[in-house]
Symmetry: C2
Subunit: 351 residues, 2 copies
DNA sequence: ATTAGCACTCTGGCTTAGTGAGTGCTAATA
DNA sequence: TATTAGCACTCACTAAGCCAGAGTGCTAAT
């Protein structure tokens, strides 16, 4: 059987009404809603075909139809694309200017959650390609020194080091010099064991300090999943959609948000398999398409953003399958451009 | 009417059975459960009295009784106290040793949530009385310098400062010296405007840097409510208690956890009005006793902890009114002592 | 002061019947 | 051949009625 133009129109109509109502939609509704001027009986036949083809389904006999995952998929892939050009006339997202990246991220998820009425999350830039800017050792007291590590993008990391041997100012200065001449401008990939050995030799009795610093450097440049900056907002929005608000489902979802591990993993997938959806690194996972079992009744939309200097992060939106994909995608697009402009203009970011 | 010994026993019995079942408890149950050897009819009379006195109530005629807020209050205040000595044989809380305060806090809430099956939260130490240890300005590039501020308890704060005028190394050294000789060892209360003016004069053209640093110092020592370190765990535990799991209530509660502002305020009250409950800075708010409307169906137990050096923070547990107060209080007590021992031993903490 | 006994109340679960939305099929129509 | 009108049928949802169980309050007897 072939999916001709009329069937597409009907499918679109079904999906769109279902998006807003959340109720199964019947043939009569479509017959009136569209300007095809077809009787409900004809629509019924078409719907029967569409069901056979797997685009829609019935919750039970004698109920209206609801879109299947396959139906949604077609919808987001093909049927929405035409409107792609449409100006995204979304109100300015109003990101306050601030020099703290963390605050920006928190604001972004908050605004996005507010605008869309879905649950949102963001993971902060992973500094994959990030280069070391400078390091600084300062004496705190007799047996502790503080290592400050600044990477590109002004990501700052502090690390307290316990001393076995006391150290005087002159030696500290030497270590500082050593570290800065050797390491500055390198990415984590470029710092190899050979270099570290050399530095240790030159450091002599304080070689353990070098190890500590190098460890801290690694930690600073490459953030592990555990304390990857991850913020969420609008989790309670899921209560706005009856199909998700049911106690056990809501509980699972919110638990996922609290646990965050699974979500982070899911988002990370985005950066791997780019370019599935039309443009702009935006991806849509409908129901079981996402790798997490918990999300089988949800749709997840992810978008990667790029703050320049190799700082890439990912935004995600979680909502019911019947989410307003157009709106979400538009929101994400404008957000991307806004983030761009903010960070291209003033490069200030702390941690 | 007087609350004699027998009434107390019956009340205790009612509350304790209600704690475990969550169902209204009837006279027959009590008649069998206690060893008073009284018939249900007698119990009924006593219950009728207890109701008149306001300690228990009926959800509807011909249902059993449930404790009122007043009843719970009496229970936690008086009836539980006897067991106070009882060894808290709770399994060791198993806090991993780590030098990052943030991680400890996250662990604590997690463990506590797991142990108690309630929702938990913690606010990190506010460094009220905290003294400045040292500051350090480092040049990042032509028009940015990084200020590192270390306070007692090894709380580190970074602050990026934009320069209007370029600055050379010698000048930077001078500023560093100036800041350290003037400010080190002071609390925020001791740094007054007079000192700041003096320092600005000495700094000459770079006076604006001094302002920035002083601002950052203030921020470092005195954390504002906005980015007070605040962690939660086990929010989904509320779904385990039917009286809270109902969609609208659950939604409100979880929203409160996400918003966090109200919760922080509530916890802060703890530190103000100490010593309401028996020992050890532990306070119990039953239902409407707490200042937040959202919590009217919950009980909140808060405990302040002290890591020494003026670092005080607060832990909170939120659960249904029928929470296991004994267990919770015991958990909090052991936690307090454990936190104590950890931080008294090794004073390492970063941020 | 306590208890046995009884009438009464209320909830929750169950069944029943009725309604409305929607379908699928058949036969008539353009 | 594609469309439509018409009709029988299905299923979820709701309201009403009924019953059992748990629990109470009261009275009278111990």
């Amino acid at each position: 059987m072939e999916l001709d133009e009329r069937k597409k129109i009907i499918l679109t109509a079904i999906i769109q009404t279902y998006l807003t109502t959340g109720e199964p939609v019947g043939s009569r509704t479509i017959s009136k809603y569209t300007d095809l001027n077809l009787s409900s009986a004809t629509i019924r036949n078409e719907m029967s075909d569409l069901e056979e083809m797997g685009y829609i389904m019935q919750p039970h006999t004698s109920a209206g139809r609801i879109p299947s995952d396959k139906g949604y998929r077609l919808y987001v892939d093909e049927l929405i694309r035409q409107k792609d050009q449409e100006v995204s006339d979304i109100k300015e997202l109003m990101i306050e200017k601030t020099d703290r990246l963390e605050k920006v991220l928190k604001q972004v998820v908050k605004i996005l959650a507010f605008n869309t009425n879905y649950a949102t999350m963001i993971i902060g830039p992973a500094y994959h390609q990030n280069r070391l800017k400078f390091t600084q050792l300062s004496k705190v007291n007799e047996n502790q020194i503080l290592a400050i590590i600044v990477a590109e993008g002004n990501l700052v990391k502090n690390h307290m080091i316990e001393l076995k041997e006391p150290i005087d100012e002159a030696e500290l200065l030497k270590l500082n010099l050593l570290l800065n001449t050797q390491l500055n401008g390198l990415t984590i990939g470029e710092i190899n064991l050979n270099m570290i050995q050399q530095m240790k030799q030159q450091a002599g009795i304080h070689s353990s300090v070098i190890s500590s610093v190098v460890d801290a450097v690694a930690e600073a440049i490459q953030i592990d999943e555990e304390d990857m900056p991850f913020y969420t907002s609008g989790t309670t929005n899921i209560f706005k959609y009856p199909e998700l608000a049911e106690s056990s489902k809501a509980s699972e979802l919110i638990f996922a948000f609290e646990e965050k591990r699974e979500l982070v993993e899911m988002l990370m997938e985005n950066s791997l398999e780019e370019g599935r959806s039309p443009g702009a690194d935006i991806q849509v996972y409908i129901g079981n398409e996402s790798s997490i079992q918990t999300m089988k009744d949800c749709s997840v939309v992810t978008a990667s953003y790029d703050l320049g200097k190799g700082m890439k992060g990912i935004i995600g939106i979680i909502g019911p399958k019947r989410m307003d994909y157009e709106k979400v995608v538009n929101n994400l697009k404008t957000l991307k451009t806004q983030l761009d402009s903010i960070f291209r203009k003033n490069g200030k970011t702390n941690t």
